[in-house]
Assembly symmetry: C2
Homo-oligomer: 214 residues x 2
């Protein structure tokens, strides 16, 4: 029962680009950071519901598939659910659609908890104000012995990393330089003392880097 996290980062470590604007709310950097992942067959099928079988296969897809395997519960930040998009609408169901791709209990960390949301396909969103340790304890109760995924965003993954709670961190390093935004490495000096690392390069050029706790 491992606690896992996956992030896409640029070569310079940016996981959370900061080039959003009112005219371009997603920014231009984010789509480039996830381009190889969103092109995979697994992403198209699991997240977009595309059953055509289209999408790339190979190493990027292997990691994409592993992302969804053996997960019993997920923990994510409020922004990842979309809570900040409609803060005053108690009926807002996030931006993951009617049948979110999680299919497990999802714990959304927020300072303004609301009632749980049961969605189609086995995803239930629970909203809680909790420390990483407390959230993890809640997730363990319902994960049925499977892995717990820290779904993001960057700040949530970093909180769990700094608290020493992540067993396996997978970083898909995209060979672009972004410079502005939140950087995964900040505060992680010496992480190599606690984790083994390995790397392999996908056909797309993405470097898959995995840290596994010793």
């Amino acid at each position: 029962m491992a606690v896992r996290a996956d992030l896409n980062i640029s070569l310079d470590g940016i996981a959370s680009p900061s080039d959003q604007s009112p005219e371009n709310p997603m920014g231009e950097d984010w789509p480039r950071l996830v381009a190889e992942y969103t092109a995979t067959r697994t992403f198209r099928n699991r997240v977009l519901g595309d059953t055509s079988g289209e999408g790339t296969t190979g190493m990027d897809d292997d990691y994409g598939r592993a992302y969804f395997e053996e997960v019993g519960a997920e923990i994510m930040g409020a922004a990842m659910f979309g809570l900040h998009a409609h803060p005053d609408d108690p009926d807002w169901q996030g931006w993951w659609g009617d049948e979110p791709p999680f299919h497990v209990p999802v714990f959304v960390l927020t300072h303004t908890p609301r009632r749980s949301l049961e969605m189609a396909g086995g995803t239930t969103f629970h909203f809680l104000e909790a420390t990483p340790q407390e959230a993890l304890a809640r997730a363990r109760e319902v994960a049925g012995g499977k892995d717990i995924r820290i779904g993001g965003g960057l700040d949530v993954v970093q909180q769990f990393l700094r608290a020493g709670l992540i067993d396996r961190l997978h970083l898909a390093v995209v060979p672009i330089i972004l410079e502005s935004g939140g950087r995964i490495w900040d505060g992680l000096r010496g992480i190599e003392n606690d984790y083994d690392s390995s790397a392999e390069v996908a056909e797309s050029g993405v470097i898959h880097l995995t840290f596994t706790r010793r």
Copy 2:
């Protein structure tokens, strides 16, 4: 006749660690950054003069060997020669020993030029105050059609990169996080638009990343 540069960097892009102190003038981070390179048979032979044949072989050594091949002239910063170590001693010959490992003309960029130094083994140090373009023109005159290596340090490589003068940049990415020091990526946003990149992972875990100008 390519203009080339090679640097060792940490996962977070630090090429020039800043943990030196009077008690530990080299710092602890620098040896870790170059550990896999200095362990190679090529480094031991070419730089240390060790003819025992000891040292690692494999991909790190392949890159180490390529570093010395087909170079007709080198350009380096004053600190890399060691000019700052004894600024007032006109007879100081740098810290590369009696027979430096370059065996070609080396142009040392400095604001305080001095007379050229002819060393054993074909290395001649020339000291000049010049822009990257001017230094490159001087190096081309004597390189006999071979490659010109920008030997470092980080600031010199960045000057040449930002001036668009580097044809091939090889980065040996060591899987450690350092956080403090000079970062290769600063100012390089969008480099992927002008360069193709490729990566491969050595037996040691070092990721060899190569940018080649389109």
